[in-house]
Amino acid sequence: MDKELIIRGVRRASMGRFLLWLVPWAALLAFGVYAAGLCLYKGLGETNMDNRFAFGLWIFLDLSVIALGAGAFFTGFLFYILKKKELKAVINSAVVIGFVCYSGAVVVLAVDVGQPLRAWFTFWHPNVHSMLTEVTFCITCYLGVLAVEYVPILLKNRKLREVPRFLVFEWELHRLMYVLAAVGTFLSFFHQGSLGGLYGVLQGRPFAFREGFALWPSTFFLFILSAMAVGPSFMVLTTSLVQKITRKALVKPEVMQEMGRISGILLIVYVLAKTVDTLVWINSTSPSLGFPAHRFYASGPFGTWILFAEIVLFGLVPALILLSRDRRARMPWLISAASLACCGIVLNRFVMTIQTQAVPSLPFLPFVTYTPNWQEVGTFLAVVAYGVLVYSISFRYLPLFPQEKDLAR
């Protein structure tokens, strides 16, 4: 029924099956929206956050999602600025994923702050010394960029392109895309970094505090690096996932491997940097504030194993796999390495947000733990559902994978 909306010559599931696929996600979205509405209407007392755990699941996920969404800006950077033409195969998909991640994160943030009605005040009364200001500005700007980047993809839809105006607009906009790619890269550098700086500057939280260069603590650069390293991995992961679900070849394996390679190179650099940073922190930064580092890992759930997992298991291991040509040539290896890398960045963001707050500064305060309640989880699931819906619909009606037709034959 929607045949004339679907790109010519690619096979898509029947409308019925497609709806069947959408329904559960829509239900999840509805549930999550209800949960979020509860928090907005009754206040954040609805959540399990508290004065000790002022940041909870939401901030943690925002950080993770934004890090994983870095694939968008980085692929764009490689494609438009460094002219890595083979990435044309995934650039559209990357843009959609980036858009989904960032818009989702922004929505959750709006629920997370106590007074969403005053969110605009950051732009009106900014404190330029705050990392959060930087984050707010960058993310909103970059979300705008992503939206603009999304427009041409949208106009490539078979029906829409029939309209001459759209066609021309798409064409003209696409010719200017490198400008947006450059801007997006600039913005991403800053907000990925500032998200790291967010914690690195906390003098009062020796667990998170880091020295750095000029205005920026070391976490600033580590976050940029890790985001860039994991972005392509996440693209590999999502692409292969879509291929599994749709049972179609969408991207040439070489492209996947290329992204794996890029990811691997950056990842190994990140791991080294992270190791150096950790050693400096353990031996100088933290002790100089009178906090022997071993104390941070004193409480059961937050043991030193986290440190190991973060750097070796989820850092070094995938890096080595991705760097070896014949390992990454095999899909299972490539995919598992990519997922390890993604787990790594998520764990890193977890440590930065959750563990930082679990560690008390005052000597007589205990370690505390926190578990999100259904309102928080629901809100998060809503974002996931939203993402799946947007991506599914885009995949059905928009040319996300130009190579699909080649591979179809």
Binding site: K3, I7, R8, G9, F123, W124, H125, P126, V128, H129, T133, E134, F137, C141, G144, V145, V148, K156, R161, P164, R165, L167, V168, F169, E170, W171, E172, L173, R175, L176, V179, L180, V183, F186, L187, P399, P402, K405, D406, R409
Partner: protein, 261 residues
Amino acid sequence: MLPNVYGFQWSAGHLIFLGAFFVVGTIIAITLAMALVRSLRDKGHKVETIRWKSEFGDLPERDRACRHQFDGRLPGRVCGNGFDCRLCAKHAEIAPGTAAAEPKERYHHRGHTWAQPQPDGTVLVGLDDLATSLTGTPERLDLPAPGTRVQVNGTAWRMERNGASARVLSPVDGKVVETGDSGRGWYLKIRPDNVDFRHLLRGREARAWLQREMDRMGALLPAPAVVGPTMADGGELVEDAAKAMPEADWDAVWGGLFLQP
């Protein structure tokens, strides 16, 4: 943000920080605006060119094969000029000189139209045998009124048949003089602006290409392909493949045939 409102003060930091972001914002806005302005300024003349450029870009790689793959001179080369060899330096050095239009000769366009110069200086435009076989007699056919301008790779006419619709690309630049139909074997009579047909195929080159096109179409048609083998040994073409194989994805077939992604 206004200074001294609620004790808000500007500092160097503010100037740098806010400056940077307002610049970024402006850049984004300007980019959008430029694209918009350009698209509005264009009064529909560029549309045909742009459509071809954009659609050519979206064609699968194998459909963009350079003509010199067929004569084996540039194996594996992909065309970067939207099949307009007149702009192609490579082509110039491989096949120098202009191919002046010889009457009664059929010049084939990659979109499966041919142009046949007439003694009176006009050009007949029709569908080649493969296209004819795969389109049969269209259910709907809208040909441009005499006097309309057509351009190379621009829309020559549109046709529809069992759910599939296509824009047939024009092989030549010029003005429509007269319209025919499938019955008469040609569709348009055009008075061309020039007789530079370097971008069109003829003779052996055309046959080689056609051969290859048959395989390509064969792949799009359900097996056992009725068309495939018969064409492979240069034999007869099915009169009306569409009638023979209603189950085929004609939309895709036509897309492939007329170079529309």
